[in-house]
Amino acid sequence: MSENSIPAIGIPRAMLYYRYGTLWEHFLRALGVSYILSPPGTRGILEAGTKLAPDESCLSLKMFMGHVDMLIGKCGQILIPRYSNYGYTELFCPRYEGLYDQARNIFRSTGQRFITCNIDAQNGSPEPKAFEQFGVALGFSARQSRRAWLEASRALKQRQKADEHAQKELTAGPGMKVLIAGHSYILSDPYLGKPILDCLAAAGAVALRADALEPEAARKACAKFSPTCRWIVSEEILGGILQWKDKADGIILVSAFPCGPDSMTNELLIRRIKGMPILPLVMDTQSGMAGIETRIESFLDIIRFQKGERL
């Protein structure tokens, strides 16, 4: 099949893209399907999304709908994978589960076509099979799709290992280290998370990221800490925190308003991790960074005091 027979697929650069994007991109590339990404997050995208999404939904969903809006009419189909679960006790936040149908309903009047990849092991569609079906839906054979998935998942593993390795080098370096924990789609987003990282860098602190860890290791660490936590992504963040916290001087918990899983896991974390400064930061649709900067600066001051440094 030639490369141009399928119109380009659009991928919104938001939500689970920052966690599984490597997998999707490599999968499409292995099949020779061209794709376009929505531009990196900006204030404008968030504002567009805020108008489209239900008022009460979370900041990340608003951002996501803004990204989908950017792709409308610019590609053949928009890919919104549906991540539901990897099994009975390995779930995803319901938000990712509903994304595909929610976007279809919000953008119904535009006539845009959407395509999904349904990962729902409880209902007989685990990840390999889901990608196989996705490939078949794109017009490839099951065999081709399976091979593409294998290649893509290897690429994802490699990236995760590389992330972990890079972080290990950071921990060995000098300077005050702050562990920054949150969903990757907040931390990696140029509009939402980057200002926080910049602010830390400007103050001379090294930011360690809780999500830079191999998922299996993280989930194992979390199972002991919080046995009934079943949201995979939250487990990974919790596990990451437990794994890296000994190397850090303080923890910043970044979450989006009003994130469902975070509202509970962050509370549990604050109650169970003692003797370490923790700063919970909730990102909102606010336009200024001044408030965040003040809080981060005073948080760093607290860490310095604790370490006995004079200001």
């Binding site: 539901s84 938000r95 589960e97 509903g98 929610q102 309903n105 308003f257 975070d262 509970m264 509370e267």
Partner: protein, 355 residues
Amino acid sequence: MKQHRKVALPRYGEYNCALKYVVEQGFEAQCILPPPLSRRTEDLGARNSPDLVCTPFKTTLGSMIEALESGADTILMVPGACRLNYFGELQEQILRDMGFTFEFINLSLYNTGNVKDILRALRVINPRRSMVKAARSLYDAARMVEHLDDLTSLYYQNCGFDPTGTYPKVYRRFIADMYAARNLTDIREGYRAACRALEEVPLCKPADPIRIGIIGDYYTVMDPFSNLELEQKLADMGVEVHRLMNITNDMLRGGGKNKQAKIRELCEYSMGASSVADLWQAQNFAERGFDGVVQVKSAGCMPETDIMPVLANLSRDRKMPVLYLTYDSQTSDVGLMTRLEAFYDMVEMRKKVNG
């Protein structure tokens, strides 16, 4: 010899009567009923909970605190399909941090999809229980829940058209009977007596009354305190109130595995927890020509927020008004009343115009 456990489950509508039955008749332990939900419950819960968590978490935490104050030594917490599954672990931590001493049976721990684990959980409540007795009590309690849901459903459909004021009396009597029931005969008798009493009431119902369907998240929609007695308020305006969302329909009677297939045009996949049931119910109300639907949810409920765009499309396609209500730890129901009255006026006017 060890004393009987004093088991409590946070208040959840009137369903506590079934738990009381299982604990007392099946496991031969004592069941402590927390006081009815009140402003105090909500304050206690909200003060000790994280800010952004959904309201049912706060209400159930408040109820647990009140249960411990009433002398319970064991708290039972149920698993669930959404955040509810994680409630137990965090609530236990909060209660321990508050300084309470108690035993916590978190059924989420045993909710692994494996039957053995569920049996293990039952053993925890009373190790010396008879399995036969426990099984029988569960069966009886399921009947109790069915009767309770059936009668509640009948009550809200008709109580707005009862000029004699008998309905509330019978309903209260029935609830009291259920709490006092000691065997299946008591349960059946109580239900039959209530049905007979209700049948005798002469209703002044127009041939084509205004019918409104209620949908919403598992806790808020089924708990009259949490939804500020929404159903009673609508019924008092002279509305036939229908609610399909209850434990009987959703769990005991199968709930209909094929609901997802029936709403495929609206929504291809499940959006989690109560979403499929809600959308199916809304569509069902639309097909039956209802005059409106009210969606009840607690602030921050994820599946319920996710279905809003779908509901909006359903409402547009079927020309059926939908009122979206979000409940937080409110202190007054005046705002709710205003919105309900406006909704009622609109629905009534539409009915007159459309015939």
